[in-house]
């Protein structure tokens, strides 16, 4: 089932994956590689070597567990993002335990700056108004989503009340819904 050169829907990709069609990996790589690699880089605080390892393992996992993907449980893209996120956070924790990297909040900020410089919007349909999410909301969502931190940990890390953390996450995602779901 070779479909290169023409638009393949997400459903078709899922079918290819479930049918064991290796061509799907190339398609996934071309279409979603940027987001998945960006996520690994973000979670691994711009450590390129670790990000490459996590990204590679994530794509292989997507292929390996592809037959188990169940469209009823959610979209393929969400499923791939979750696999990648989990794999990258696993890498982060293991390496942190070994002392190879430090869980320093500064890394997050550094990564944030790096993100602004290197963000590549070619691979996905990124709306132009991405920056409309306030920095205070973005920061909290990043810590929870990319760093796997609990509300309590974020509260301690940023020295803001627990209630504020919850409200910011909720308001931030509400804002994201208005940005991404209206399209």
């Amino acid at each position: 089932m070779q479909k290169s050169g023409q638009h393949i829907s997400e459903n078709d990709l899922a079918t290819m994956l479930q049918n064991g069609d290796q061509a799907v990996v190339s398609e996934i790589y071309d279409r979603y590689g940027g987001v998945l690699f960006g996520m690994c880089t973000k979670i691994l605080r711009n450590n390129t070597g670790l990000a490459e390892d996590a990204f590679q393992e994530s794509v292989l996992k997507i292929w390996k567990y592809g037959k188990s993907y169940d469209a009823k449980k959610g979209k393929l893209f969400t499923w791939m993002l979750n696999i990648t996120k989990n794999t990258a956070i696993d890498h982060w924790r293991k390496n942190m335990n070994r002392g190879k990297i430090q869980n320093d909040i500064e890394d997050v900020h550094k990564a944030k700056e790096a993100y602004s410089e290197t963000r590549n919007t070619d691979t996905m349909d990124v709306p132009e108004n991405v920056e409309s999410l306030d920095q205070s909301l973005r920061e909290v969502i990043e810590l929870a989503y990319f760093n796997g931190m609990t509300h309590q940990q974020i509260s301690g890390e940023l020295d803001i009340p627990l209630g504020t953390v919850k409200t910011r996450i909720r308001n931030g995602i509400k804002k994201l819904r208005t940005i991404y779901l209206k399209n």
């Binding site: 960006g38 490459e52 696993d90 996450i169």
Partner: protein, 284 residues
């Protein structure tokens, strides 16, 4: 269960970003499988977060694609259902370490010791799901019962209030009627053989006038009874009688009078009595 409140509580957002407890994760999974509206809200949040993730896109190094495709070529896909059970959830998986570059992931299924635990975990999950559903439903029942009780109490309170004010009114009337200074004047039919009758209770000192029109024939829709005090030859208007309420009620006050009379007048009353329509009269 009030799914709207649940959706608006913020727990779904917390679930998607991964900052909920294990117990809350199970709760969200259970409820989203039971209530389609929760599932839909959850998917919308997931889509939003997927959009958020795209903001961080970065092109991977060129050499990686070839390496990955080479590994795919030598990596067998696992049969459907053969996963770590967590890889499609928005949470950190215990499987898949940084060392495992070649994705040589040993499926848990191959470890016979894990098998009973999986069954037990599934059973536990189902039981907790059922229990949660039961508790939520029970909670809802209590809530609606509580609301019904509150409404009933409110209705009773209103009733008590109205009875109290009615009682107070009756007390006031009784006090007036029992008062030694109150005159009781019977107004008898003005026409010969007429059956109409009314009673005026008058307290000249306080100038209070009460009328009991109980024995007056109910007027038609275009007429109303009107009470007059006669002082010398001068009739003084003491108000019309609501035909829907032919019971004892207070009229305009007067301190001096020689007689009281009631005439039948057009609705709204007249400035001076229509003598042809004089129904009852009583001298003091």
């Amino acid at each position: 269960m009030n799914t709207k409140e649940y959706i608006e509580s913020g727990i779904l957002e917390a679930y998607v970003v991964g900052s909920v407890t294990e117990q809350e994760q199970q709760e969200v999974r259970c409820l989203s499988s039971i209530y389609p509206e929760i599932k839909q809200a959850l998917e919308e949040i997931e889509d939003s977060m997927a959009g958020f993730a795209t903001e961080y896109s970065m092109s991977p190094p060129d050499h990686l694609k070839a390496e990955i495709l080479k590994q795919v070529d030598i990596t067998e896909q696992l049969p459907a259902g053969d996963t770590d059970g967590k890889s499609d959830k928005p949470f950190v998986s215990a499987v898949g370490s940084g060392e495992d570059k070649n994705a040589k992931i040993r499926p848990i299924r191959k470890d016979p010791n894990n098998f009973p635990w999986r069954i037990a975990a599934t059973v536990l999950l189902l039981i907790s799901c059922g229990l949660l559903y039961f508790l939520m439903t029970m909670d809802e029942d209590y809530e609606s019962e509580l609301t019904a009780q509150r409404e009933s109490i409110n209705a009773l309170e209103n009733q008590v209030e109205s009875v109290e004010s009615e009682l107070q009114e009756k007390d006031d009337r009784l006090a007036l009627l029992m008062n030694k200074g109150t005159d009781r004047i019977i107004l008898s039919a003005a026409s010969e053989g007429g059956q109409d009758e009314a009673i005026v209770y008058w307290h000249p000192e306080t100038e209070q006038v009460w009328l009991d029109p109980d024995n007056l024939v109910a007027p038609d829709n275009e007429h109303q009874y009107q009470l007059w005090a006669l002082k010398g030859d001068q009739p003084i208007d003491l108000g019309v009688i609501d035909k829907e309420n032919l019971q004892l009620h207070q009229m305009k006050g007067i301190g001096e009078a020689d007689a009281f009379a009631i005439t039948l007048e057009p609705v709204g009353g007249s400035p001076s009595p229509t003598l042809e329509q004089l129904k009852v009269i009583g001298q003091i």
